[in-house]
């Protein structure tokens, strides 16, 4: 992504809307690694993440005309497609996996990871966006709730179960995290409403 700007992506997407295959490949090459990263965090399984990635780009090819540069940046638009597909895949497969990996080692490993890693991603993102100091106002629990929702695609009840907190408390933590994010981003001039 180093040499690709949002302007490049917007221009390519406009050509993809006219079914320009070369532009489609440019979009893919410039964004696939970042988007696979996003899908992988949610699904925690490379093969499924790659399937989701492929589905997402099918969607990009068919729906590029629906991209509106006035409403979203190209990367945000792409991330949303991938995230929604990954969350759908996660929720449709969750019951199945709960039944199959109930008590083996993998289950513990995933549980461990889900406590530590999403918060690190959150920290790294805050720092890259230069809002680390501003976001320091959030408690560890508030961060954790926000991180599990965003990076793991968890809903309130799942977060509550995962960290052993009451549902109402978790909802308040997520709300607080989002409020703070809005304030801090506005302070650095990102996505002011």
């Amino acid at each position: 992504m180093a040499t690709t700007t949002n302007d490049d992506l917007a221009r390519w997407l406009a050509r993809v809307a006219m079914h320009d295959r070369a532009a489609f490949e440019q979009v893919y090459r410039a964004t696939c690694a970042h988007l696979l990263g996003v899908a992988f965090r949610i699904l925690n399984q490379r093969e499924r993440a790659e399937e989701v990635l492929q589905e997402a780009y099918m969607n990009v090819w068919h729906n590029a005309a629906g991209f509106n540069a006035a409403l979203a940046s190209p990367m945000t638009w792409l991330i949303n497609i991938v995230r929604n597909k990954a969350i759908d895949a996660l929720r449709s497969g969750r019951t199945e996996r709960a039944a199959t990996v109930a008590l083996d080692d993998e289950a513990f490993e995933v549980a461990d990871e889900s406590r530590a890693q999403p918060q690190q991603l959150l920290e790294d993102s805050f720092n890259k966006m230069k809002i680390g100091t501003c976001m320091a106002g959030l408690s560890a629990s508030q961060r954790q709730a926000l991180a599990l929702a965003y990076y793991r695609g968890m809903v309130h009840s799942e977060i509550a179960e995962s960290i052993g907190a009451p549902l109402g408390t978790v909802k308040a933590w997520v709300r607080r995290g989002l409020d703070r994010l809005k304030t801090c981003l506005e302070a650095v001039g990102v996505a002011s409403a």
Partner: protein
């Protein structure tokens, strides 16, 4: 309930964008989104904010198979083997889709053109009967560019393969040609095609017997030349029609 009161809208929009709005509440809000520009905007602003949380996610390079699969799914003409249980009318739909009909006609047309202008292509076999090739296959790459011309006499036991443009075969792999019989029967291996130039592939039986029921040919990259009974392991990188000219 009025969803469009600014404060209520903002709360719903952020939970929707985050993914924590679920079930009936999510479906209700999706209906609001379809009808309200204000709701779309509110969600858009939150999606933009939340996308900043993705900047810290380490990139992960997908395998090249993801891109090849995409090309195959989006751009390759539907391979005959793709439909395990074709519905009663699927052949008609496929025929009327224009794409496959146009492709078939273009393939035959181009093959005839190439044969006319370069009769030596298929005349390399001894001219025992003076007849042109009976079976001709034209395979295109994912962008639709003609790549392989395969031809054989009806009772010949040799398939002549001419590469119309060079292909890049991954190191340690071969470009394996497959015949895809109609009715979705399993593909069978024909032989290995070269990266460029011309090759002759010995056939285990006459073309008439082998290709009579074969409407399509395809090439996949395989770790080794396929043996009888093998099935394609990789995606098809080239595919096209196989027609009987006379």
């Amino acid at each position: 309930m009025n969803y469009l009161l600014p404060e209520r809208l903002d709360k719903l929009a952020r939970e929707y964008a985050l993914g924590t709005l679920q079930g009936r509440a999510r479906r209700r809000f999706e209906r609001v989104l379809q009808a309200s520009g204000a709701a779309t905007l509110a969600v858009g602003v939150w999606q933009e904010r939340l996308a900043t949380l993705a900047v810290g996610v380490p990139p992960l390079q997908p395998g090249e198979g993801v891109w090849r699969g995409l090309e195959q799914r989006l751009f390759a003409p539907a391979p005959a083997v793709a439909a395990p249980s074709p519905s009663r009318w699927s052949w008609l739909v496929a025929l009327l889709s224009g794409r496959s009909l146009g492709g078939a006609l273009a393939g035959v047309f181009l093959a005839v053109l190439v044969l006319r202008s370069q009769p030596g292509l298929i005349g390399a076999e001894p001219h025992v009967d003076g007849l042109p090739a009976s079976y001709v296959g034209l395979l295109t790459d994912a962008t639709g560019k003609p790549t392989v011309l395969a031809s054989s006499r009806r009772h010949g036991r040799e398939l002549t393969v001419k590469m119309l443009q060079p292909i890049t075969v991954p190191a340690g792999q071969v470009a394996q040609l497959w015949a895809l019989p109609k009715d979705g029967a399993a593909p069978f291996p024909v032989g290995v095609v070269p990266a460029q130039g011309t090759a002759k592939i010995a056939l285990p039986d006459s073309s008439e017997k082998l290709f009579f029921t074969v409407p399509r040919l395809a090439v996949s990259f395989e770790p080794r030349p396929a043996a009888a009974g093998d099935r394609p392991g990789g995606d098809f990188v080239l595919s096209g029609h196989c027609v009987k000219l006379w």
